[in-house]
Subunit: 322 residues, 2 copies
């Protein structure tokens, strides 16, 4: 019998963040059968991290291994190079230099391993299991501490000639604008539309407007959550913080649409909890910056994936996308 | 004998501009075997235009038809939709509405016909016959009266979900900036880096600087050619016109690189006659706006195709790209 029984095929999805790593066993329907996590920042050497990951994962694999077949491992990680299987110069990870991550994983687990950056993995997860099912052209934007992106065109991820395509958070939306705290660039999308950017905007605006509710919090409590709390209480300054954020996001989205003409733009991440406070101005400023042939065509939607599982699903999707 | 003799395969390439239409018979090596042109704007009805094109082309096809086999027709035209075979609402063409151009051509010529916009056709021409041979990821920017673009990723043109992807000339490089004479958008790349944009910049700058050589010309003689004449005579204002143009172009290119991470950006069109006056500042401002992982990687080069034949070659490439 040479037919493959899809119901028995599973993949291991691993999402590596600066602080935590999440992993899970995922089937073809995008169901997470088992999952766990470990601290990324507890391991100074990548080999120790992979050993620890194996110790965590192996009992799970044993448990499911009698009836399931493991197709491979998909890893989402910052600065991951799909072509080379490496993690390169990732500023938020403890491991410096160029790490041959896929090779090390394959040696330890005995399974093929594919890596890509976390936002690319998220885009694949949406295409296979989420709001982008059936779409061949869409853009995924992750709005968290930073701004990440994954671009699907003609049904495939755009990796570019070197594997690093899709850094939309670092495109410039306001030349000569706000200096980025880490890259030093001036006026990037991330400098405005990330949670970090929103905090900066909020601190500036509450200093300008003493009457704002935002001034009831100590300086270090100002973040996108407290801005949201003030916005739902109708503080006009908090609402303006989100409106300005949405405007910058929308202006950037218009440029992305004129690049790849996607069917939809999917937004994901902590910042989207602000909901319509950001989505409405984003939509408005996207549309008004588009050429007429692009107007009122692009769906601007929030991700449908459960946030706790999305990263694992996305990473596992790497295994099946091939 | 079922093998195809490639040396006998030819395609008809047609490039439709607002004023003139060029056409030619092209072989697999990108050699233009025969060519001609007719006025686009002399035909108010598209059917009359296609009849006239047939009258021009048919004798050529007869001449080569005894020994060559015509594989098909490729057409580059403004607002052409690759998926539908239509030319839609093209502001610079005499035919209004949505024209089923490929269908009309097929009915007249009895050959399959594919259409795309002129910059996409140019990108294909560069990939098959020009400076991008062997590249799978590059961006073509045409700098003429307007600014067009064609984007190749994973070895294929990016058409987007509706066939209209790649309108990089209309991306915003300076929010709230110069109003576009036709679209009404504010601060688009085309408003600065097209020949029309350069003329506007030159007229503004010569008014500010009475000592500039540019003031030796009557108002209607100011264009990218006269700016170039003054720049090579070392007029600092003319040089500044190009430097500013190059800066805006370079800032836009940085954003495009962070989108699709191309191996090269190819520049084509009348504006590139300004050479290093534009290329050097464009390169500088592209690099300084890039994330470090993208720096000093992207080749910024001029097209190698003969300008007179490039449009025909590009259109013919559509036939073989499939």
């Amino acid at each position: 019998m040479s037919l493959i029984d899809l119901s028995k095929q599973v993949a291991l999805g691993v999402d590596i963040g600066g602080t935590n790593t999440k992993f899970g066993i995922v089937n073809h329907r995008g169901e997470v059968l088992d999952k766990g996590n470990l601290r990324t920042d507890a391991y100074d050497k990548v080999e120790d991290f992979i050993d620890a990951l194996y110790e965590h994962v192996h009992p799970m694999m044993e448990k499911h291994g009698t009836e399931k077949h493991f197709d491979g491992i998909g890893v989402g990680a910052p600065n991951a190079n799909y072509y080379k299987g490496t993690i390169e110069l990732a500023p938020n990870l403890p491991w410096k230099g160029v790490i041959p991550f896929a090779e090390l994983m394959k040696a330890k687990f005995g399974l093929p391993c594919t890596v890509t950056n976390d936002a690319n993995a998220a885009a694949l997860g949406e295409m296979l299991f989420g709001a982008a099912r059936g779409m061949k052209d869409f853009i995924m934007i992750t709005l968290g501490t930073g701004v990440g992106s994954g671009i699907i065109a003609n049904g495939s991820l755009i990796y570019g000639h070197d594997g690093f395509a899709g850094e939309l958070g670092h495109t410039i939306v306001k030349p000569g604008g706000r200096k980025h705290w880490s890259t030093g660039s001036e006026g990037s999308l991330e400098a405005y539309a990330s949670a970090t950017g929103i905090t900066i905007t909020a601190k500036k605006m509450r200093a300008e407007f003493p009457e704002s509710m935002l001034n009831q919090y100590p300086e270090d409590a100002i973040n996108s959550k407290t801005v949201y709390e003030c916005a739902i209480k109708e503080d006009p300054i908090a609402i303006e913080v989100f409106r300005y954020t949405g405007q910058k996001l929308g202006e950037a989205l218009a440029n992305f649409v004129m690049f790849s003409s996607p069917e939809a733009i999917l937004l994901f991440g902590g910042v989207i909890k602000a909901g319509d406070f950001i989505l409405k101005p984003a939509k408005l400023h996207m549309e008004r910056n588009l050429l007429p042939i692009f107007r009122n065509k692009v769906k601007l939607v929030f991700s449908e994936l459960d946030e706790a599982d999305a990263a694992i699903l996305g990473a596992s999707a790497l295994v099946w996308e091939k």
